[in-house]
């Protein structure tokens, strides 16, 4: 029994790290641009599928990882320039619909290039699972967990200790003020989408070896990211990380101990409960009140 619980904890932490990564990307983009990006899951899928193609032409994983991140980041930037940047001043709802349009187009693109096949990616390091306390731990899980930690730390360092990070924070706090200081909000928005694309691909390439990759897995991944983000009140980075881990563990235990068909329902129920009863719970989002 103890081993089974430990096993569930391991798989929960793995899945939870993935959700944390999703939540991190969604929250940071939301904080910076005010846009809730429904296409984040598609960035993950596209990143992973690019890696699949690069692997198939014989590139080693150590090259594939940065190259797919770079390509997906470029794609993120391109999309920002072609869509978001042209819709300056659009309402939140219109922006949301634009990201829906992006997600539909990217899904179509993935279907066009890669088809409906299920792909897998090689693990970062070879070797069988480690055994800890009688439960198996896949080395790839450690990589994913490490990636989430590095991401979180990187984001913290960026926002607190670099010029650009401070510029971003300034532009979030006060657009006009930041502008007067020579910070261009459109550049910041571009940067945010480049990062979202890159982070998405990083997540996609690392989870590929564990979850397999199909063109249509993006939406549900995105929803899980939203749940993680919502647990942190949509705007809190560390809240999203904790939220993602919590969600992953909860899903693993409920599907392991009760039934796996309940997995998605449970995360949605959490989303609704959090939104209804603690919308600003852990941290409240800034809300403009129109009078």
């Amino acid at each position: 029994m103890g081993e089974q619980l430990l096993q569930l904890l391991f798989s929960g932490l793995t899945v939870g790290s993935i959700y944390s990564l999703m939540g991190l990307s969604i929250v940071s983009l939301f904080n910076i641009t005010g846009i809730l990006n429904l296409a984040q899951g598609e960035f993950v899928v596209i990143g992973a599928l690019i890696a699949v193609s690069l692997c198939s032409i014989g590139m080693p994983m150590i090259v594939v990882f940065p190259v797919s991140i770079l390509l997906a980041a470029l794609l993120g930037g391109l999309i920002e320039r072609l869509t978001i940047n042209r819709a300056r001043g659009a309402s939140n709802l219109n922006m949301l619909i634009i990201t829906i349009g992006i997600s539909i187009s990217l899904r179509g693109l993935a279907l066009l290039i890669w088809g409906t096949d299920t792909y897998s990616l090689p693990a970062f390091t070879k070797g069988g699972p480690l055994f800890l306390g009688g439960a198996a731990l896949n080395p790839q899980s450690i990589w994913i967990f490490a990636l989430a930690v590095v991401n979180f730390a990187g984001m913290y360092l960026f926002f607190e200790h670099t010029y650009w990070g401070k510029a971003v924070k300034a532009s979030v706090n006060n657009r006009t003020g930041a502008r007067l200081q020579g910070i261009n909000p459109h550049t910041i928005s571009l940067l945010a989408f480049v990062t979202a694309g890159g982070l998405g691909a990083a997540a996609g390439v690392s989870i590929g070896p564990i979850t397999m990759v199909t063109y249509d897995m993006g939406f549900m991944l995105g929803v899980k990211g939203f749940v993680a983000a919502a647990i942190g009140g949509l705007s809190n980075v560390s809240g999203a990380v904790i939220g993602g881990l919590f969600l992953g563990i909860l899903e693993a235990f409920s599907s392991g101990l009760i039934s796996s068909s309940l997995k998605d329902a449970i995360s949605i129920i959490i989303l609704i409960l959090v939104l209804l009863f603690r919308p600003e719970g852990i941290i409240g989002a800034k809300r403009e009140r129109k009078i």
């Binding site: 709802l93 539909i104 279907l111 329902a265």
Partner: protein
């Protein structure tokens, strides 16, 4: 009043001419689907365009209506018209139960919560095998009948759906020009100012939400009686998102917006399906998906206020004119 009469005549003539002239069942089926979606989007349009609340979960109410009609007639052998009534009331009741708490949320939070609700109901349709037949759904639903008259052909059903739609258009037109309509618009512009003017915004938003759920349930019930076979796929979150798209693409808070939006989105999918293979030989569904997404983005970037502003001649209210000049 005069304007309303003209609209009424236009729609009646349209129904009459189409039902007499059109022979193709394919065309009727498209028009029926447009009509059903337009009914849903009418309600959603009140909620979004007047009360200023978004819902990404209306396929759930649509589905609840369809499943209510299907289950009551196939399993409990209710008369179809009674089942249709239940298909309207049940989603409305559920909206009343969840509405007050949900509508406290704002904008993106509300969007996420309603999206979640839609996914949850979709999962319930798939998992509730005992009642809903799971992924394979419910078949052999009877045709809608009133006494001995059955709506058993596409033509008859087209007349029914569009007559319902016409009544709704006129009713809603009266509503938005009434005291309630003005109060709803006041909420959209500023909830705080509206409350200061003595408007009970929570109660009005809830009423708009319930109303939109009733209409979605009505459309769902009609859909079940038309198609006579339902499965969860038609009521997924994709459908919810499409309804919002129709409302926004048509133009929020406008008379023709919901119908226009439903017609454009349905026609777009159909046209893409026909035209794309001609332009790109051997192209499959993936091109349609990509082009559909791109058109959506273009519409939102270049026509964010919706398509019905193209026909602004119909809408001489000063507010819209002002919005248009502000855009320049």
């Amino acid at each position: 009043m005069k304007k309303t009469t003209i609209f009424g005549i236009i729609i009646l003539l349209f129904i009459l001419i189409v039902s007499l002239v059109v022979k193709s069942n394919y065309l009727f089926s498209i028009l029926i689907i447009i009509g059903l979606y337009a009914i849903i989007v009418q309600g959603l349009g009140i909620l979004m365009g007047y009360a200023g609340q978004v819902s990404f979960g209306h396929a759930a109410f649509y589905g609840l209506g369809a499943y209510t009609a299907a289950i009551l007639t196939t399993r409990y052998h209710w008369p179809t018209i009674a089942a249709l009534l239940a298909a309207i009331i049940l989603p409305g009741t559920i909206a009343a139960l969840i509405g007050r708490q949900t509508l406290k949320l704002r904008e993106l939070y509300l969007a996420l919560a309603t999206l979640g609700f839609g996914i949850l109901v979709f999962i319930a349709f798939n998992e509730g095998r005992e009642f809903t037949g799971g992924p394979s759904g419910i078949s052999s639903i009877p045709f809608l009948n009133i006494g001995s008259f059955a709506f058993d052909s596409d033509r008859k059903f087209f007349v029914l759906v569009w007559a319902v739609l016409a009544l709704l258009l006129l009713g809603i037109n009266n509503l938005v020009h009434s005291r309630t309509g003005r109060a709803l618009r006041a909420i959209r512009e500023s909830e705080y100012a509206a409350e200061n003017a003595g408007i009970d915004s929570a109660s009005l938003k809830l009423q708009a939400f319930i109303f939109s759920a009733l209409l979605a349930g009505l459309a769902g019930g009609l859909y079940a009686f038309y198609i006579t076979f339902i499965s969860p796929a038609a009521f997924s979150y994709h459908a919810s998102i499409e309804f919002v798209l129709m409302a926004v693409v048509g133009g929020l808070g406008t008379f023709w917006g919901p119908l226009l939006g439903a017609a454009v989105i349905v026609a777009l999918s159909e046209i893409l399906r026909e035209v794309v293979p001609l332009l790109i030989p051997g192209a499959g569904g993936e091109y349609q998906i990509i082009i559909y997404g791109i058109i959506l983005i273009l519409l939102m970037v270049y026509k964010p206020e919706g398509l019905s502003s193209l026909g602004a001649v119909f809408d001489r209210s000063p507010k819209r004119a002002e919005q248009n000049t502000n855009k320049q």
